[in-house]
């Protein structure tokens, strides 16, 4: 167990240190950075799902006054590597999905670029495409591993025999549609070549990841790429790794006579070029004895990937560790299609997987005649069922009991459809939440003493709304045992020590743990009275306990919904999340993270579905009018609380990360509440009105 850092600044509800600039709008995001004499880029996208560009005529576009260049596969610079098909922008005539870049116009203004892009004429050799996702698709295959590195399939015991002998069997299929991250800031890049060096202002969750990705593509040393992202307008995974637009912007900047290129994807373009969550079909089978103790868990998932680049969402992974059952099976199958490349979206795996598993648990509770909370209590494992290791901290049941009292679980009607109020059917439901602890290697931090009592703390971390500017300063203050005001934090730039991506809810633990290590190293090197200019850089510490414990966060989600008896309209009137996530660094920003995840869960439950038209390979509802994300009026009384704890086995910080757990289980809690309200069990998200009018 690591020596825990004592809390002084940590644990206080410090206001966001970047808040004043953000309420004024003066904090610069990528596209906001002023550059001299910029060129504006507007792309042309493929309008077929598979085939090749047979001819492309740019003459009319080039004739428009103010157009500087039109790039196509015929004249674009060659990349040093093109083995990753997502990044091989304009390297050939091939088309792997509708929406792929096939040309780009560079012009003096955005209006001119957009207009001229519409004048590029294209002919295609159309190949037969397949954009139909079905669970029975004959092309499905088993990926080598799933996202996060886990094996695709697991088996323990004999699931079939256990199901055959079980007193109660639940056998259902649950589906979740495609989800689109839709951060409010569109993916944006400002790219400029200065000689052999590249300078980028980018909308990214990891400046060093952008540098590492681009360096081999353009055949230059990583040190010759500088990436700045001091402020990021949300990402939720879609800015975790660069997408094709960054490559296109950098390539265009090779053709702009040294002028910087500004490129922001439109909202519509984001639906095919910025990653998205795969739809899933989840076959869940649960077997239980007469007392409601699970004897078998089987979670078999089919999902899609792009044919040009594999992404395997780890949807069945949480079923491996959530509940005690001696016989377990999980599997993932991918259907390769001619569709845009899926990627990370908030809690990949846990988010869709916990919809299937937790809706199934609600169904099993009813089949066993048990309260859903009691069913969880009877299936709480002593050790991680997957690894046999002890949990570092598992307080799932405490989350449920705490929340049940506070939320008024005793007011839940035991009989579905039992509450009708003023024309609305009212129900209450719950579900478990979980997210694993990740701490990424490869971080370093630098601490320098200014001589005037102030310390400069540097690490290339990112703040995409997560509060890093604030909580890392709090951690640094306690690590240096100095007042908060004495900390000068610098993040979001590759000129700072290397930092891992803001992903997997790993940022605070990874970067914060590194800052603590650097502060220790600074003290060892310079003592308690450092001279002005004293500086130390240190890497993240080794975890002496690595592999000894199963480290996961847990939570209990509660929802109250109202379903209109005549129209089927569903409103989420109340939600409460109770979480166990280790140490909370800043209660004010932490609560925002939790309720933000739960709010996105409301969108997943009620509204969000990317509709693929398989005839054209097109996401039909590709804007914010047709792909509805929660608006203010969709969100009722949502609150989040947490257990006071410090994880003694999660490093000196004792924090397990909070960015993603809030969305896990949220949609299941809402669907379970809708069942309690109406007696109608919806296993296909989203919970749209017509599904309650059967």
């Amino acid at each position: 167990m690591a020596e825990l850092l004592a809390s002084k600044a940590m644990g206080t509800s410090l206001r966001r240190v970047d808040g004043v600039a953000k309420v004024r709008g003066t904090a610069p995001y990528a596209f906001d950075h002023p550059v001299e004499n910029p060129v504006y880029l507007f792309p042309v996208q493929a309008t077929i799902a598979r085939g090749t560009v047979s001819w492309i005529d740019t003459a009319e576009a080039e004739a428009v006054a103010g157009v500087i260049a039109v790039l196509t596969h015929l004249n674009a610079p060659r990349l040093a590597r093109s083995d990753d098909a997502e990044y091989a922008v304009l390297q050939g005539p091939g088309i792997g999905f509708r929406g792929q870049f096939i040309a780009a116009v560079l012009a003096e203004t955005g209006e001119i670029a957009c207009h001229a892009a519409g004048l590029v004429a294209v002919g295609y050799d159309i190949a037969v495409h397949d954009a139909s996702f079905t669970a029975g698709h004959p092309g499905q295959y088993t990926p080598g591993q799933v996202n996060g590195g886990a094996v695709p399939d697991t088996a323990a015991g004999d699931v079939e025999a256990a199901l055959a002998e079980a007193a109660v069997v639940l056998d259902q299929t649950y589906t979740t549609p495609a989800g689109h991250n839709n951060p409010m800031e569109p993916h944006s890049t400002v790219a400029a070549w200065e000689g052999d060096s590249l300078v980028l202002y980018d909308s990214t969750q990891g400046v060093h990841a952008v540098r590492q990705t681009l360096a081999p593509l353009f055949g230059i040393a990583p040190e010759n790429i500088q990436v700045a992202a001091p402020n990021v307008g949300g990402g939720f995974g879609s800015k975790g790794l660069p997408h094709a637009h960054v490559v296109l912007a950098v390539m265009a900047a090779q053709c702009s006579n040294g002028r910087p290129v500004k490129f922001a994807l439109t909202r519509q373009q984001m639906f095919s070029l910025a990653g998205y969550r795969t739809p899933t079909v989840q076959h869940v089978r649960l077997g239980a004895d007469g007392a409601g103790r699970l004897t078998a868990i089987s979670h078999e998932v089919v999902e899609l990937t792009s044919r040009i680049k594999e992404f395997a969402e780890q949807t069945a992974v949480p079923a491996r560790m959530m509940y005690a059952a001696p016989n377990r099976r999980t599997s993932h199958r991918l259907v390769p299609l001619d569709v845009p490349v899926p990627s990370w979206m908030r809690a990949p795996g846990e988010c869709p997987g916990m919809f299937g598993l937790e809706t199934a648990m609600d169904e099993l509770a009813e089949a066993c005649g048990l309260d859903p909370l009691e069913l969880r209590a009877r299936n709480e494992p002593d050790l991680d069922p997957e690894t046999g290791k002890p949990f570092s901290s598992r307080h799932l049941l405490e989350c449920f009991t705490t929340g049940a009292g506070r939320f008024g679980w005793d007011r839940r009607s035991a009989v579905p459809g039992g509450r009708l109020e003023d024309g609305w059917r009212v129900g209450i439901g719950a579900a478990s939440a979980t997210y694993p602890f990740y701490r990424n290697p490869g971080n370093a931090a630098r601490i320098a003493y200014g001589g005037d009592g102030t310390y400069t703390v540097q690490i290339g971390a990112a703040d995409l709304g997560t509060g890093s500017w604030t909580v890392l300063a709090q951690i640094a203050a306690d690590a240096l045992d100095c007042p908060l005001e004495a900390v000068r934090l610098e993040i979001g730039d590759t000129s700072l020590p290397v930092a891992s991506v803001a992903g997997g809810s790993s940022g605070t633990a990874s970067w914060g743990g590194t800052i603590i290590a650097a502060a220790d190293a600074f003290r060892k090197e310079h003592g308690d009275r450092p001279p002005a200019g004293a500086a130390t850089q240190a890497a993240a510490p080794e975890d002496p306990e690595a592999g000894r414990y199963a480290l996961h966060s847990f939570g209990a989600q509660f929802a109250e919904v109202r379903v209109h008896a005549d129209t089927g309209e569903l409103r989420v009137s109340r939600m409460l999340g109770v979480f166990s996530a280790g140490r909370i660094i800043n209660p004010r920003t932490a609560r925002s993270q939790f309720i933000g995840g739960m709010t996105m869960g409301i969108g997943m439950a009620l509204h969000e579905a990317g509709i693929m038209d398989p005839r054209f390979g097109l996401v039909v509802n590709h804007d914010l009018a047709d792909y509805h994300i929660p608006a203010n009026a969709d969100v009722g009384d949502v609150d989040a609380i947490w257990l006071e704890e410090v994880d003694l086995h999660a490093g000196a910080l004792g924090a397990r990360g909070i960015g993603e757990i809030g969305i896990t289980g949220a949609a299941a809690a809402i669907a379970n509440a809708a069942y309690n309200a109406t007696g109608i069990r919806i296993r296909e998200l989203p919970l749209t009105a017509e599904k309650f009018l059967s």
């Binding site: 509800s13 206001r15 966001r16 808040g19 004043v20 600039a21 953000k22 309420v23 004024r24 709008g25 003066t26 995001y29 596209f31 002023p34 203004t109 955005g110 209006e111 207009h115 839709n182 951060p183 409010m184 800031e185 569109p186 402020n231 990021v232 307008g233 949300g234 939720f236 439109t266 909202r267 705490t402 995409l464 709304g465 109770v578 909370i584 209660p587 004010r588 920003t589 609560r591 925002s592 309720i595 933000g596 739960m598 709010t599 996105m600 804007d623 914010l624 009018a625 929660p630 608006a631 203010n632 969709d634 969100v635 009384d637 949502v638 609150d639 609380i641 947490w642 257990l643 006071e644």
Partner: protein
């Protein structure tokens, strides 16, 4: 086609040449370097570009600049006046942590200021029970009136609380209700 226009932006007289296709948003951001209003969708679907135009809230991406020669524009950067102070709505957003990534925030605060004025002058909304009477800004009214401003980080609960505070500073305290279990 280009045209020369002038705008009073955050109290400052600015003259500029715009393409007649140029939106007010792009005029502010790309021509004048006023990047406080953000471009989230360019289609009037998200509200991130909200500014006060002649005192009323508008999606500046839906407004052609050439049609507003001589107009007064206030962005979130100018809401507090020239001295760098914050508007009470901005103060309330900070106190309630009514933002996360901050990208929608300038639009949210401009929208809130415009909305409070609309409510004060008795303009009804979809959820106003009796349009003939003074508007009581309860949570349902605030949620409805702020639904043109999307926030993907999910700060709505805190946005409503902040606007409630700003609308009636005496009614509730300005502290966020963050805390551990009861």
């Amino acid at each position: 086609m280009d045209k020369r226009i002038s705008l009073l932006v955050d109290g400052e007289e600015r003259t500029l040449t715009v393409d007649t296709r140029t939106t007010l948003l792009d005029s502010l951001r790309d021509r004048l370097g006023v990047t406080s209003p953000k471009k989230g969708c360019d289609h009037g679907q998200c509200g991130a570009c909200t500014v006060l135009l002649g005192g009323r809230r508008v999606n500046s991406c839906l407004v052609l600049a050439v049609a507003h020669d001589g107009a007064e524009v206030v962005t979130a950067a100018g809401l507090g006046g020239g001295g760098g102070e914050l508007h009470p709505v901005q103060e309330a957003f900070l106190a309630r942590d009514a933002l996360q990534c901050g990208f929608c925030t300038p639009g949210q605060v401009c929208s809130a200021v415009g909305m409070l004025q609309e409510a004060a002058t008795g303009q009804p909304s979809h959820v106003t029970a009796d349009p003939g009477r003074a508007v009581e800004l309860d949570d349902a009214e605030i949620r409805e009136r702020m639904s043109g401003n999307l926030c993907r980080c999910g700060a709505y609960v805190n946005i409503v609380a902040a606007i409630r505070d700003a609308a009636d500073p005496g009614r509730t305290s300005g502290t966020a209700s963050a805390g551990a279990r009861p």
